[in-house]
Amino acid sequence: MIVKVCRHATFTVLLGLCLLLLNAWPLFAVESKEMLADPALEARARNLSKELRCMVCQNQSIDDSEAPLAHDLRVLVRERLKAGDSDAQVVNFLVARYGEFLLLRPPLTWHTAALWGLPPVVLLIGIVAIVVIVRRRRNAPIPPPANLTAAEESRLSELMREG
């Protein structure tokens, strides 16, 4: 039995080696055999593949993956495109079959609202916080410098004597 690694981020050192072991000769990510003759259609297939996740791999698109499942999905995408599907139709077809997990760019739904919403909200909070602090600071009196400790006082007077 020959076993292969699905996706091995080099950072797997840290990952503790999550290896997905599959019973197959290593295939290759996109192979020439799979590719469509029509360059425009093939370009669409490649772009779609980059947005679709190979579900047995860790965080890898079907375009990059060597796993047999990714191969099957690439062929499926191309079959649908040849049959005349639009990009959206292909994606909908695959999501209906395999679920949202397939999409590397999560669509905006109720349970991803926070995911897409939080980054701009964080930025906004940051900007508001800075503006508020600057405003308040402008009106506040300048605080007196901190008092020195006894040790520092004696050190200071020592330095003054030397100077």
Partner: protein, 661 residues
């Protein structure tokens, strides 16, 4: 025997860490100099014992002692010496040992070279450092002991994961750990300062060199990992927004922000409360990264649930340290006195802007990395957050940051002149505009945004040069005077300009390779050729090669220019490791200037056709070269006289120094 000695040494180190964790704190409370003085020697001796323990494990690996379970599972006597040594940290237990080793090293460095620090601050900081050591040493001793024996020692080991049998393993994890464990020093100093309740500009001056050193290692570590992934994975990608990569990127972003806010705190006494928070956050993110990577939670929430012992332990460490630190912060930070007023348009203002964008970028990565885990744990719904999400959210935050970057160093402290800075950047804007126009003229139907990316990269690079030109007045005074001014410039000014230049270089590489890189996928028969850019590769056949613990099927390809000039041969291979029945792709690279030809081999068909993936990667090496330049910039800044506190100061430099401050 060696393994038992190692185990014993680790236990002794644990005992010493306990002493180091308690005595100095008690000493600081009761003003007892004897107890305070325990901290430094304890830290040094603790390091010696951790080093002995780590060394013992290394000896077990190098001598292929397969009666030790950890060695049996991750090593093989046929491996070359280098991989027998590096496989020490190529597994969970060993990498935790490296973590603890570097943590102890950090503590020892503070103990050895922190003689100029106030005794209380140093003792408290070393105590906090020891709390972390206690937690992680206990983690190793109870859940991840690398010294366990097997009763009947097997004859041969199960080999190191083939993917890791690469020189990259020698550099990448140690550098990465030096980076993110290095932030523990800033964390310890922050907690020590909060315990004491006194923080001033001097605090930033003491902490900055440690942050800078850690940041340099992390920068190089991340870049090294990226290059390793690039040549090892076989499809020429260099960044995947993988959660494990994000785990190292988050501390880098927070650390970069910390580096900049600490400058403001040091020079102007402002942003104290914020800088302390960043110091806590940078190391907290390191801890979170360790949790993500070490607990198995990334593979799936279920894998975590089936063997949760390690995960729960690290989670407890995480909660205790981050929760404790933030609680202490919430309690003590309001007591810190604010100082250093500044107008919004000023060097300080620019650095605040820098912090805003870096922190938000960090938050974005954090949200994207943890959201799917949280969602699955809470609702069971599985979603993927991949590169398209990060490109859409992270990119827009970096563009304004990079646009503003050249302005920062040109603005004065307290109150800056934005119009004046803009005027001085005219040259940079001009270069950027020319680059954009040229890129548009040269590209045929490429992505519309790419020329603007090139423009931004050149704006950042020339902006850094303008900063240097302004400071040396190179075009306004005679050359000799300018050179004297250049020599008199503080090294930190050079460091800033060089590091900023490096960012531009990296950006240029990223933009050019993503926009104008070429890819060919083909199946070649013997003697057939394939063209890419202005190169032609001819397939000359396959041959077999035997390595020490693998065998290679090598494809030989002749590389010519399209006009026929011979350039050389490329020999990509499929590498088979019998010990684990695993194959890896060994891509062949040919450097052309700072561009590369990249060729990887698929599995040959029985009829002799080989599938190949061929890429032309224009300017790709700039991506990592930029990181090396940033590292050098950091080094220049680190060598600044100001940071080598206690170093003798020749009188003639004093004038230049004051001028700079």
């Amino acid at each position: 025997m060696i393994a038992e000695l190692g185990h014993y040494a680790l236990m002794l180190a644990f005992g010493l860490a306990l002493i180091q964790a308690v005595m100095p704190i008690v000493g600081a409370r009761n003003d007892d100099p004897t107890l305070l003085s325990v901290a430094a020697p304890a830290a040094l001796v603790q390091f010696v014992f951790v080093a002995l323990s780590f060394g013992a494990l290394a000896v077990c690996y190098v001598t292929s002692d397969f009666s030790v379970l950890n060695v049996y599972e991750n090593s093989n006597s046929a491996m070359p010496l280098m991989y027998r040594l590096t496989s020490v940290w190529g597994n969970h237990e060993g990498s935790m040992m490296l973590w603890v080793f570097i943590l102890a090293l950090c503590g020892a460095l503070v103990a050895a070279f922190g003689g100029n620090l106030p005794a209380k601050l140093r003792a408290n900081a070393l105590a906090v450092q020891a709390w972390i050591a206690v937690a992680f040493q206990l983690f190793i001793l109870t859940t991840s002991n690398p010294f366990l024996r097997i009763a009947d020692a097997p004859f041969e080991g199960r080999d190191l994961n083939p993917v890791l049998q690469d020189p990259g393993l020698a550099f990448h994890p140690p550098l990465l750990y030096l980076g993110y464990v290095g932030f523990s020093i800033a964390f310890s100093f922050a907690i020590a300062a909060l315990l004491e309740g006194r923080i001033d500009g001097a605090w930033a001056r003491w902490v900055r060199p440690w942050v800078l050193g850690a940041w340099m290692c992390l920068t190089l570590g991340i870049a090294g990992g990226s290059y390793w992934a690039y040549y090892e994975l076989g499809w020429g990608g260099y960044w995947f927004w993988d959660p494990v990569e994000n785990a190292s990127l988050m501390p880098w972003l927070a650390g970069t922000a910390l580096l900049h806010s600490a400058v403001v705190m040091e020079k102007r006494g402002a942003l104290k409360v914020w800088t302390i928070l960043l110091a806590i956050l940078a190391f907290s993110l390191s801890l979170i990264g360790t949790f993500l990577v070490r607990s198995g939670v990334l593979t799936s929430v279920h894998a975590f649930a089936t063997d949760p012992r390690r995960g729960i332990f690290i989670l407890a460490i995480l909660v205790a340290f981050i929760g404790g630190a933030l609680a202490l912060y919430a309690w003590r930070a309001p007591l810190l006195k604010q100082g250093g007023l500044f107008a919004p348009i000023s060097r300080e203002g620019a650095l605040v802007l820098n912090n805003l964008f870096l922190t938000c970028a960090c938050a974005t990565v954090f949200i994207g990395t943890l959201y799917p885990l949280a969602l699955e744990a809470l609702t069971g719904a599985k979603i993927s957050v991949g590169p398209p999400f990060f490109n859409a959210t992270f990119g827009p935050l970096f563009v304004p940051l990079l646009l503003a970057m050249p302005f920062g160093p040109l603005l004065g402290w307290k109150r800056g002149d934005l119009l004046g800075a803009a005027q001085r950047l005219t040259a940079a804007a001009f270069v950027a505009a020319v680059a954009i126009a040229a890129a548009f003229a040269l590209q045929h139907g490429g992505p519309v945004l790419a020329p603007f990316g090139v423009g931004l990269a050149l704006f950042v690079m020339t902006g850094a040069l303008v900063d240097l030109a302004e400071r040396t007045m190179i075009l306004r005074v005679p050359l000799g005077a300018a050179l004297r001014r250049a020599a008199g410039l503080p090294r930190s000014a050079w460091g800033t300009a060089v590091a900023h230049f490096g960012i531009g270089v990296t950006l240029l590489g990223i933009v050019v390779v993503s926009a104008w890189g070429a890819e060919r996928i083909a199946a070649l028969k013997l003697g057939e050729s394939i063209d890419i850019a202005h190169y032609r590769l001819t397939f000359d056949g396959l041959f077999n090669q035997q390595g020490p613990n693998y065998r290679d099927v090598v494809g030989r390809f002749t590389v010519r220019r399209t006009n026929g000039d011979l350039l050389g041969v490329m020999e990509p291979s499929r590498r088979m490791f019998p010990a684990r029945n695993m194959a890896t792709t060994e891509a062949a690279l040919m450097r052309r200037g700072v561009s590369q030809l990249y060729l990887s081999l698929g599995d040959p068909d029985p009829d002799g056709t080989v599938p190949v993936r061929l890429y032309f990667k224009p300017l790709v090496l700039l991506i990592w070269l930029g990181a090396v330049i940033m590292f050098v910039g950091g080094g220049l800044s680190l060598s600044d006289r100001r940071l080598r506190i206690g170093a003798p100061r020749p009188a003639k430099v004093r004038a230049a120094l004051q001028a700079a401050e």
